[in-house]
């Protein structure tokens, strides 16, 4: 494993994994406590429409994808705020429409053939230096925004009605927050693929939630867990020559089931003692 570090692609993969873990730890915590996993999945998939758009019209990738995902995210948020009980349906529709649009646009793009697989599972072993800078910038923005809005986000996540009563602009902060999710997802997808994004956004925070007494602790713990899953997955993928994204996800899933099993055992022990 140590000798793998002499390759630039391996070093970049590790750095990219750490950045993605940090962003996912912070954003994923809010996604999980607000039960927005489906919405995050919707944004991630709908962003495929942005990729198609970018290739078809020949505009820069980041511009097309970011614009499209932000638009999709804002529509989903507006619907979610307006009619809470129908939100999942609308998210599902935008999810599907975004992907379908992307595929048709790529069909119609002359001479271009983007591999859907690389988009789904990413290519963490082929991260160019320029993407690392994007991720560094995004990590800084994410962490600073979360710190700046921490009390507001905590309040609207825990009890939005009370936050509203105390004069917090709940809707504005909600839109900002969803925008932040969209930007994070788009940039991380390029590196690790959309399935890994969703796995990293949900599994580490879910495990961390049970052991955390505060959101901050949950963010820190889920970032650490995500790094752990990433590095273990990378190491296994390198050693056994497996697809890196899928390996990382399976490692995270193993962590998830392990924590569930441990909880069940602990609970049983407690009952026995009593």
């Amino acid at each position: 494993m140590i000798e793998a570090l002499q390759f630039e692609f391996m070093r970049n993969a590790i750095i990219a994994g750490c950045f993605a873990s940090l962003i996912c730890g912070v954003i994923g915590t809010f996604v999980v406590v607000n039960r927005l996993v489906f919405l995050a999945g919707g944004i991630a998939h709908a962003s495929y429409g942005g990729i198609g758009l970018a290739f078809f019209f020949g505009i820069p990738y980041m511009l097309g994808t970011l614009g499209f995902s932000l638009l999709a995210a804002m529509i989903m948020t507006a619907v979610a705020l307006k009619s809470k009980h129908r939100a999942d349906t609308f998210i599902g529709i935008i999810w599907a429409v975004g992907m379908a649009t992307g595929i048709i646009l790529l069909d119609k793009t002359p001479g271009y053939n983007v591999n859907l697989m690389s988009y789904l599972f990413g290519s963490i072993l082929a991260v160019p230096n320029s993407d690392l800078w994007w991720m560094l910038g995004l990590s800084i923005i994410t962490v600073l925004s979360a710190a700046f809005l921490y009390r507001d986000l905590l309040a609207i996540s825990y009890d939005d009605e009370f936050a509203r009563l105390r004069g917090v602009s709940v809707n504005l902060i909600y839109f900002l927050f969803i925008g932040l999710i969209a930007v994070s997802i788009v940039i991380i997808i390029r590196v690790v693929g959309l399935i890994l994004v969703i796995a990293l956004l949900t599994i580490p925070p879910y495990i961390a939630e049970k052991y955390s007494r505060s959101l901050f602790m949950m963010m820190a713990l889920s970032s650490i867990l995500a790094v752990l899953f990433n590095l273990t997955g990378l190491m296994l993928a390198y050693t056994y020559n497996l697809t890196s994204g899928a390996t990382i996800i399976l490692v995270a899933a193993a962590g998830f089931f392990l924590s569930m099993g441990m909880d069940a055992l602990l609970k049983k022990k407690q009952v026995d003692i009593e």
Binding site: V33, R151, Y158, F162, L165
Partner: protein, 252 residues
Amino acid sequence: MNEPVIQVENLSFSYNGNPVLIDVSFSINEKEFVALIGPNGGGKTTLIKLLIGILKPRKGQIRIMGKTPDQVTGQIGYVPQDISINKSFPISVMDVVLMGRLPFNRWTGLSKKDTEAALAALKSMDMLDMRHRKIDDLSGGQRERAFIARALATDPKILFLDEPTANIDSRGRGELYGILKELNKTKTIVVVSHDTMVLSSYVTAVACVNKDVHYHDDAEITEEMLEMGYHQCPVEIIAHGIPHRILKTHGK
């Protein structure tokens, strides 16, 4: 004499065209201890949310100390129904109580004043030792006291509570009403509750809410009031320990 701190005139409200409150008028004087009773779906929670300004009236007007609810949010303390809150959320008691001090300056964060006010509110609820605990680990009664502390963090003049005893055993209920009685020395209290029997020894007035509001400046909860408040659903009366003679009246 005591001035009315809450004045409601010709208030109507509906959800998606279904009227919940119709042409309601009443006023509550300073330092009253008012119980809102009535059947589920009768509009108690809606009425409270209108009074604190979370919902806006369709018709009519609400004055809290002569102003609209939005203008006096610092004077209003609100303890929502326990069930409306996400239970597994990782948040400490202290952070919950600090929410009562929102909004904070985002550049400077929490001020010393905010922290001190939160600590004082916790202390008044006898919850100071619990402040680092996760809210999910508390008992129903402790959690309720934490929510009351949150409502008290701005030292409001009026305290609204929506079914504060729903998750508390009967001994805890008495304790909680004792705490409210103590707070009532300096504050007006409006509480939604089904504990009609326990309540009658604490309250100074009762409002029966069932699309309309009948306000009684009287601590005693009479058969007639229960009839008015609950007439649509006698089952509820059995469930909440009302004497049998009332049931007989219903049977006729």
